[in-house]
């Protein structure tokens, strides 16, 4: 796999150009031979070079030019493998709902041995979950009817009933009330911490017999060699050093073979990206568009606390060419969740979503609430804004996509949890009936899931609001969007014959050159209301083993910098909400800067994979158990 290529070693020999090992398999020399024979053929050709006296940089004896992965080291070992009935990748609301529903159906049918296995890359369930969150309880009421019942000792306790909604349009110093569209009425909904909710769902999952393994990241999709269907996933090898060599603590990953694999990785999942490409799941749909949500949780003074109040804002600080909006929810015990979503199709490379968020907090409507309080948590995550037009084909041979990884978020409602959970439940039902209908091993295709989606509330809901987000793409920007969305909300309600399109090929292409856009200067953080990025990152609790391959894969750091710096002047440094990418001053390099990736700070938001203008940053999962350890997000 390209991700583990000991690139430096290959470059040293001078024989192989830096790009060659990252080319698709078909272009590698002798690719039609099986691996062992290929290795010997390459060895022979290498020996020929030695014998004609060709110089190499390395003076150590030639050890054999093996496959991309490794030479003759422990990574050649076979992986341990296990058979399960269904494997679910990702322990968020969709994955957990699917797992619980599967075991519920299996237990009811008396099939107690039905194995459902759930892999989650975070060290514990919920640790990588960050969301607003005002949940519409429709899906969880169906899944676990007494989730909120006071008589239930294991009910989910940390809910705050939504009381009233406010919508405001902000200018620098004032806020103008605007009518909230009827979809955004939150009567009957609850403000929760989705992080806590997923922990609770995890406990319910274990109760019904789901095998939950947090701390293990599925890093590879396994394909059947005969028909190319998905036959499972494998977790990544642990204990590999930064240069790609195995360390003393090396542990081989494990394979899970399952007849159905459900991908519930959340927005822009790394394995989902591969699966979508392989099965061309976006052939009949628009590209997905995204937003980046940044969130903080504050403990505020009791006199400022209004439990259940929900405020949504638009306008300041974002320019009219950029979609986005802020929120402020009062919940729990004197706690406030506030944040900003910035549409990632923003054109100005000087814009920093993190900087805008810090600016926003100084606006009186936010400052008046959080002043004197304490910030206890910070997190950020990309979210889907494509809606109806961007839903891909969700079923493929051997598995399906559920939840945000497919993209069921309702943008005007700003809710995706109920649709994610519902899609998980529908997939579970389809999976169980497909497996019991074909008990002998044959490739499973979840036709029933695709049908169920189309006849469910997810489809009708998303179809109704499909034109609201794309209406912001016009030259009227924010104002055109608000006006059209108002029409849609009150008048049309989605019953128009037209469907507006998103901009092809995606958010990354919307970025203009740095020279074409006005530079934005962000005010220095004051340490009371606004904070510098590293202080915020420390509140995420994120950490990664330093001595491991950089999981944000950029082929050639210098080439990337030479290509991107002149055009965008360090856009990566601005769009990353965790300060991972840096252009450090270095007089010795071209353009006077050096590109640096501080992978340890990563909070797994996936923005870089989405927004990098040349799409040359590939987010792969690092070792399991690492990444943020969110609290109350």
């Amino acid at each position: 796999m390209a991700s583990k290529a000991p690139i430096s070693f290959l470059n040293r020999t001078g024989l192989i150009k830096s790009n060659e090992y990252l080319l698709p398999t078909a272009w590698r020399p002798y690719s039609h031979f099986p691996p062992t024979r290929r290795r010997r053929l390459l060895q022979q050709s290498r020996h020929k070079c030695l014998s004609i006296g060709r110089r190499t940089f390395s003076t150590t004896p030639w050890r054999g030019l093996a496959d991309i992965d490794d030479s003759f080291d422990p990574r050649q070992q076979d992986r341990e493998s296990d058979e399960v009935d269904v494997c679910i990748v990702g322990g968020g609301p969709a994955g957990l709902s699917a797992a619980i529903r599967l075991k519920q159906i299996a237990n009811e049918a008396g099939n107690e041995d039905f194995r459902v296995l759930l892999l989650e890359k975070a060290g514990e369930l919920g640790a990588h979950i960050v969301s607003g969150n005002v949940i519409e309880p429709s899906a969880v009421n169906e899944l676990l009817p007494d989730w909120n019942n006071p008589d239930n000792p294991s009910r989910f306790e940390n809910v705050t009933a939504a009381t009233h909604d406010k919508m405001r349009f902000l200018t620098k110093n004032s806020s103008i009330p605007i009518p909230a569209p009827p979809q955004m009425n939150n009567k009957g909904n609850y403000i929760i911490s989705l992080n806590q909710f997923c922990k609770w769902l995890g406990e319910r999952a274990e109760e019904v017999g789901v095998e939950v393994y947090p701390g293990f990241a599925a890093s590879e999709v396994l394909y059947d060699s005969t028909d190319g269907s998905v036959k499972g996933v494998a977790t990544n090898d642990l204990g590999i050093s930064r240069s790609g060599k195995p360390k003393a603590s090396f542990e081989r990953g494990m394979e899970f073979n399952a007849r159905v694999t459900l991908f519930a990785e959340g927005c822009h999942g790394s394995l989902t990206k591969q699966v979508i490409k392989k099965f061309d799941l976006r052939r009949d749909s628009q590209p997905q568009t995204y937003g980046l949500g940044l969130k903080e949780v504050w403990e505020v003074k009791p006199e400022k606390f209004k439990p259940g109040e929900i405020v949504h804002t638009m306008g300041y600080p974002l320019p009219s060419s950029t979609y986005g909006g802020g929120w402020l929810y009062h919940f729990g015990d004197n706690l406030v969740s506030l944040g900003l979503v910035v549409g990632l199709d923003y054109p100005n490379p000087w814009l920093s979503p993190y900087g805008e968020f810090q600016k926003m907090k100084h606006h009186p409507i936010y400052k008046s609430v959080i002043e004197g309080g304490k910030c206890i948590s910070y997190g950020a995550r990309a979210l889907n804004e494509g809606g109806f037009q961007s839903i891909p084909k969700c079923a493929f041979p051997g598995g399906a996509l559920i939840g945000d990884t497919a993209g069921f978020l309702n943008v005007p409602k700003i809710k995706g949890t109920h649709t994610a959970m519902r899609s998980g439940m529908l997939a579970a039902e389809a999976t169980y009936s497909a497996l019991t209908a074909n008990p002998d091993s044959g490739t499973v295709f979840l036709f029933e899931y695709e049908d169920a989606l189309r006849s469910s509330s997810i489809w009708s809901e998303l179809k109704q609001v499909r034109n609201m987000r794309p209406s912001f793409h016009s030259r009227l920007g924010l104002y055109g969007g608000i006006m059209y969305s108002g029409l849609e909300a009150y008048l049309f309600r989605g019953k128009t014959p037209w469907t507006l399109k998103h901009k092809e090929p995606g958010d990354h292409a919307a970025t203009k050159l740095a020279s074409q856009c006005p530079k934005i200067d962000y005010p220095k953080p004051d340490g009371q209301i606004s904070f510098d990025i590293l202080t915020s990152v420390s509140r995420t609790g994120t950490n990664h083993e330093e001595d491991q391959p950089v999981h944000l894969q950029v082929q050639d750091w210098d080439k990337h910098k030479d290509d991107q710096w002149p055009k965008y002047q360090g856009i990566e440094n601005r769009f990353c909400p965790a300060g991972v990418y840096e252009y450090v001053e270095d007089g010795a390099k071209q353009f006077g800067v050096k590109f640096q990736i501080n992978a340890q700070n990563c909070i797994h938001c996936k923005t870089c994979d989405i927004k990098a203008p040349a799409q040359d940053i590939n987010w792969q999962t690092p070792q399991g158990g690492e990444g943020p350890k969110y609290f109350m997000t």
Partner: protein, 261 residues
């Protein structure tokens, strides 16, 4: 023929080292609700040391017993310990009576461990030198005192010789110090001892089948009487900015101004 080792490894479930700790509302303890917990990093070193001893085979290791005393969630760290190589474990359940109250003090832990050692016939106890939440650095030493055994704390190297004696190189303030004592004994681990292995997924799955006994404090007849009372817990004062001086003379002047010299 060296005596086979029966090792006891007590472990503690603490707030994960990467999480930023906060003081709770009542200012009596650190907030633990909803915060990520994991095994104390020094205890990971002890488990690794025990497993490496078994791999070295000289002296042979009969049994590695992991033990944890705490609320119900402690089973998670015990499963991780068994996934790393412990053979079986005991969970002494101490119901979560509320923040700060649930924890045993080091003396209570030492008394509990002394009883377990006698009951399970252990001849070597490996503990972490301290836990990262209270940083007491007392349990190992108190345990050795209660048992009347030899002790080697802050171990950075452990070696056995044929005569049932163990040589331990210890990290001390001035450098290293090597002690040798006959078994049975108590060793506490320090950072340089080893690098703990990852608990691989196949091992975690196998660990589910290993034995985990549930006991309570009364089973061991230990009183958990607390002798210490926490009056208050405060966050450290926010860091004040530094000042810049131009040269050495400026620094001396500044230090004189502050009354430091």
């Amino acid at each position: 023929m060296p005596t086979p080792l029966k090792i006891l490894v007590p472990i503690k479930r603490v707030i994960d080292y990467a999480v930023k700790p906060r003081v709770n509302k009542a200012r009596t303890a650190v907030e633990t609700q909803g915060v990520k917990h994991s095994m104390n990093p020094f205890d990971e070193l002890s488990i690794e040391a025990a497993v490496q001893m078994r791999e070295r085979k000289n002296p042979p290791v009969d049994d590695i017993l992991a033990l944890s005393a705490g609320p119900a969630k402690c089973v998670d760290v015990l499963r991780t310990a068994m996934a790393m190589g412990a053979d079986r474990s005991i969970h002494v359940e101490i119901p979560d009576a509320g923040q700060g109250q649930a924890e045993l003090e080091p003396l209570g832990v030492a008394k509990l461990l002394a009883t377990v050692v006698a009951e399970e016939g252990r001849n070597l106890v490996i503990l972490g030198k301290q836990s990262i939440d209270d940083d007491s650095n007392q349990t190992g030493q108190m345990l050795a005192g209660l048992l009347g055994w030899g002790q080697a704390t802050q171990a950075s190297k452990i070696e056995f010789d044929d005569g049932d004696r163990v040589s331990v190189t210890r990290e001390v303030d001035g450098g290293v110090d090597t002690v040798r004592f006959p078994l049975p004994g108590v060793i506490t681990t320090d950072l340089r001892l080893n690098e703990p292995r990852y608990a691989s997924l196949p091992n975690i799955m196998k660990a589910k089948k290993k034995k985990l006994e549930k006991k309570s404090l009364s089973d061991y007849g230990v009183d958990e009487g607390r002798r210490l009372k926490t009056l208050k817990v405060e966050e450290p004062p926010p860091r004040k900015g530094g000042g810049k001086v131009d040269d050495v003379d400026g620094m001396i002047a500044k230090l004189k101004e502050l009354g430091a010299i």
